[in-house]
Subunit: 450 residues, 2 copies
């Protein structure tokens, strides 16, 4: 039988992280140099390297017998815990009735985009997951390129909104930001909120990296600045190193009662409820405890040390600019200085740059610009600095916290040697490029047709 | 801020089981008779009452540390186990590459409906979850009312297909069937498959109750009869009593390679992957073992005993007809004999019948006809016979298996007294109705405005 597929499905592309994953798997088994058993420097995957907190594991273990369906909106105990978590960490008063649980933040953002009418405004660069959702749902959308500081310009936002005919617009705000690692401060959020109020823009504020903010006191949720128009999403994946558990939540705006009824219908229609044992496990992750607090502190400190090292090391490469991360485990590295050399080597898209970096002898995996919703010819890339054994590094950090700048560098060298060597390899690549040693030939053995 | 919701969201109704759930919760706290602390006879919820098999619980416990994202299509070990499970129990040769894992069968059916072009053919009565999905996705659809035997008539299917203009049609086959408990035999499936081949109909065969088939040797999967055009869905929810775990799978038709690529994109776009610990736990549930085999046997035998009792007891009520279940834990009871009396009592829709049965002193929860995609005035209802303590009953059955018909009745009386009394209460209700004792007044104290 020949099957006919609906058009909007064919129109979307595989999310780029998964394309890359496939690419790396194929590459891994195909490296034509048998002497080379190295694998690759993993700057591509956005996964926390740390162990799932023991408290969460214990709670999952205690919940294995819970085979009954949970309520559509989520377990009341979990919604309560999340409400208190938001109060404690983010200073927000959130009625548990405003909280809905989903199998990951991604699905909840998809569900929000399903119900909310209007044109989507997507600031770029952006996380690679939003655009396939927007395209699949056939929503109108507009990019909003950020300025040199890699942040949304309120006046650009206003200008764009004025051009749109929709009564309602939807801004996707990702704060702290993937891929830049940057944090919006209170004033910046207030300026964005002013435009949103004026232009009837509701905000999906993806704050999945909130808890990773290095100087945690600086994090401010858009849900606090613009409570009447913001949907805040967050979950276990990044702060609790449990992406594989698949649990996220969304906080609805104040007073959005009708909308909540609509949303609940969608959850009931699409997935019924999130796994009951997983929800029970998550309660422990969101409850306030010394154990979790220590976990957040240690992990964000390690991310900060790795981030500062990576920023410094990349910035030290001639011609390379990078965002200095305030949070997350990413930064955005800008290699456009090498555009003429890349063009000369027939590497004329960011995709080709990623492919050229992954092949022998560089073996370096990055997420290239067009996967971040940048122009195909923008040679910027997301660098994730998590390629180390998180369990071991966590223990080492607990045993001896590095304090001085030189102790921190030593800590990275001892604990994350692949980050150190990987960044050196990026430097080597651009040096070879500059000296004309890189061209089309380096990619041939991979069988890449571009 | 006033939010604008997309139209197709407002057009769908809350799935009926969840509406009923809300209704029962409200009712429960509102019964105006303070002396009445009974609760209700629960014939409405379709949830297996048994404990999650120990093997699955143990595997979940052993997997609590697995916080990493799983592959989009599912863990290879799980897909292998499901492949072998299908070979062992259903005699099907399924390449693991044809299997995709989702957070429940419901989401996978939704995802299939998202990608497959064409008009949906929905035989009725039907499980209450399909229609909200179809409506939300704005798909064209046609009901296909079953005949007196409550099964799809191949010639009716052909007639309907001939009227449809689509190049591709999608039949939703639910076998064994919820709400009737009936099983399609091989010949019946072959006749349906013939029409499907002829009319270019692909089949979503929801076989979530396959393993509950009382005479298990009689179950035949549509995936075996019509392998080139059938998507088989199944999961942990019913056979493994782990609906709350949220794990289902779909087997793609043979040779549907392009389609699989499209499908994987959708999974990656909407939910990334199913919870890693849950997937690991599921492996144990699908692996062939004496323990699981015994579990399937015992649970299906208990369902059979409860089903036979319920069928006999309901059929013994004057005027009531019921389907005799071959599988599942449901049957369809037909109360249309009482239509004139119901009408006289101003109970003129199936919804009103459900509401009249739930109030004091009847306290009996059923799923009425229009929740099963029947006419609003069809006084048929789904009766789920699972209102007992599954853990206790499982043990009692293990200790002493009832063999003779009278031992089986005693088993039900001892182990499921609420089923016994609940069916008597249904009888009492219709007796009262017949003698004119039931009218609008009986519902007033609930504040139901109809």
């Amino acid at each position: 039988m020949k099957f006919i597929v609906d058009q909007q499905v064919e129109d979307i592309e595989m999310p780029e992280n998964l394309k890359l994953n496939t690419f790396l798997q194929e590459f891994h088994s195909n490296c034509p140099h048998p002497e080379c058993s190295f694998g690759y420097y993993g700057f591509a995957f956005g996964q926390s390297p740390f162990p799932v907190p023991q408290k969460i594991q214990d709670a999952l273990i205690a919940s294995a017998s819970k085979g009954a369906y949970a309520a559509v909106s989520g377990l009341p105990e979990l919604r309560n815990a999340i409400s208190k978590y938001n109060k404690h960490y983010f200073g927000m008063d959130v009625d548990p009735q405003r909280i809905y649980i989903g199998p990951g933040t991604k699905e909840l953002i998809f569900n929000l985009l399903e119900i909310l009418h209007g044109t989507v405004i997507l600031p770029t660069p952006a996380w690679l997951g939003y655009l396939p959702q927007i395209r699949f749902l056939k929503k109108n959308y507009h990019m909003l390129p950020t300025r040199a500081n890699r942040k949304i310009s309120p006046s650009d936002l206003r200008k764009l909104a004025l051009r749109l005919q929709d009564r309602q617009k939807i801004l996707i705000l990702n704060n702290p930001n993937n891929p830049t690692g940057l944090l919006y401060d209170k004033l910046e959020l207030e300026e964005i909120a002013d435009v949103c109020r004026e232009q009837n823009i509701c905000v999906i504020s993806d704050e999945i990296y909130a808890q990773t903010t290095y100087d945690f006191s600086k994090f401010v949720s858009m849900g606090k600045i613009y409570p009447e128009g913001t949907f805040v999403t967050n979950g276990l994946s990044k702060s609790h190193a449990a992406g594989g558990y698949r649990l996220g939540y969304v906080i609805f705006p104040q007073h959005a009662i009708d909308l909540k009824i609509q949303f609940k219908k969608i959850l009931a229609t699409e997935f019924t409820a999130v796994s009951t044992p997983i929800q029970n496990a998550a309660i422990s992750g969101f409850e306030i405890s010394d154990e979790m607090n220590e976990y957040f502190e240690i992990t964000r400190n390690i991310h900060k040390i790795m981030g500062e090292y990576s920023y410094d090391a990349l910035s030290a490469i001639h011609g390379v600019k990078a965002t200095k991360p305030d949070a997350t485990f990413y930064l955005l590295a800008d290699f456009n200085y090498y555009a003429p050399d890349l063009d000369a080597a027939k590497i004329n898209t960011s995709q080709k740059l990623s492919e050229s970096l992954i092949v022998h002898p560089y073996h370096t995996a990055i997420v290239g610009g067009d996967s971040l919703v940048l122009e195909r010819t923008d040679f910027s890339a997301r660098i994730a600095y998590v390629d180390y054994d998180g369990t071991k590094v966590y223990k080492n950090y607990q045993e001896q916290k590095p304090k001085t700048p030189s102790e921190k560098i030593t800590f990275v060298e001892n604990n994350a040697p692949k980050i150190v060597s990987g960044i050196k390899m990026i430097e080597t690549f651009f040096e070879s490029l500059k000296s004309g040693k890189i061209g089309e030939s380096s990619k041939k053995h991979l069988g890449i047709t571009t």
